[in-house]
């Protein structure tokens, strides 16, 4: 995932590479993801969230599109 100055820059990047435009999130949402994934990473019990936990984290942030489903086999 990459950082862009604006949505227009995202659109241009996708167009230049003939890639589909995928979801965009803002910095506040990204910070919440960073906390959910890494807040305890330096502790003994740290681990990557499992798929159910990932579902819950994304849902809490309003990221409910199938794109965010860690088990999805096809994305439109």
């Amino acid at each position: 995932m990459l950082l862009f100055r604006s949505e227009e820059h995202v659109n241009r990047w996708c167009l230049d590479r003939n890639l589909p435009r995928r979801p965009i999130i803002n910095l506040q949402q990204l910070w919440q993801l960073a906390l959910a994934w890494y807040e305890n990473r330096l502790t003994v019990d740290s681990r990557r969230p499992d798929p159910d936990e990932i579902d819950a984290i994304f849902a809490r942030l309003g990221l409910t599109d199938p794109f965010w489903n860690p088990r999805a086999t096809r994305i439109g």
Binding site: M1, L2, L3, F4, R5, S6, E7, H9, V10, R12, W13, C14, D16, L19, R21, R22, P23, I24, I25, N26, L27, Q28, Q29, L30, W31, L33, A34, L35, W37, Y38, E39, R41, L42, V44, S46, R47, R48, I54, F58, P66, F67, W68, N69, P70, R71, A72, T73, I75
Partner: protein
């Protein structure tokens, strides 16, 4: 460098399956605490020396930690490429913490360094499109608002198909 983890009872670990997990935790903690303290990932040889075990035991632990998605290894050497959110190689996401430079694997991991270290950070990055310098800051446990856009090119189910690209 001073060892950053307690000794593990290796004889017991070798005869009790459950203690293999203890060894993996010791390796994980050594790797992560070393990066946090020095900004650099330890080599396989350094981990083996510090934990007083063999290189082969560390390599096997690295593989198990890779399967748990806690490490990403270089394909040719099996050394650490990523200990998310930290990158063992230079990237375009530099995270400054009290004058020390860490590297993150992506924009998410750049803020992840702040989350893991629980410190204020300044992230120096570039726009994925135009290459212009950009910055992000975390202060007192919150990200400083900026109008930037974060784009995910790969669906969540496929992030680990090619995690370096993701």
């Amino acid at each position: 460098m001073r060892p950053v983890v307690a000794r593990v009872d290796w004889d017991r670990a070798k005869t009790h399956g459950e203690n293999m997990m203890d060894f993996d935790i010791a390796v994980k903690m050594h790797v992560y605490r070393t990066i946090a303290a020095t900004t650099r990932a330890p080599t396989i040889a350094q981990v083996a020396q510090t934990l007083e075990c063999t290189v082969e035991e560390v390599e096997e632990a690295f593989q198990r930690l890779f399967k748990k998605r806690l490490l990403v290894l270089e394909p040719d050497t099996s050394e650490i490429r990523m200990a998310p959110p930290f990158s063992a190689v230079e990237t375009s996401f530099r995270v400054l913490v009290d004058g020390e430079s860490y590297f993150a694997n992506c924009v998410w991991d750049a803020l992840g360094v702040a989350a893991a270290l629980k410190r204020d950070v300044d992230v120096a990055a570039t726009c994925g499109d135009c290459g212009q310098p950009m910055s992000m800051q975390v202060r007192r446990g919150a990200v400083v608002p900026e109008p930037w856009a974060v784009h995910f090119a790969v669906p969540a189910a496929h992030w680990w198909d090619d995690i370096v690209f993701t």
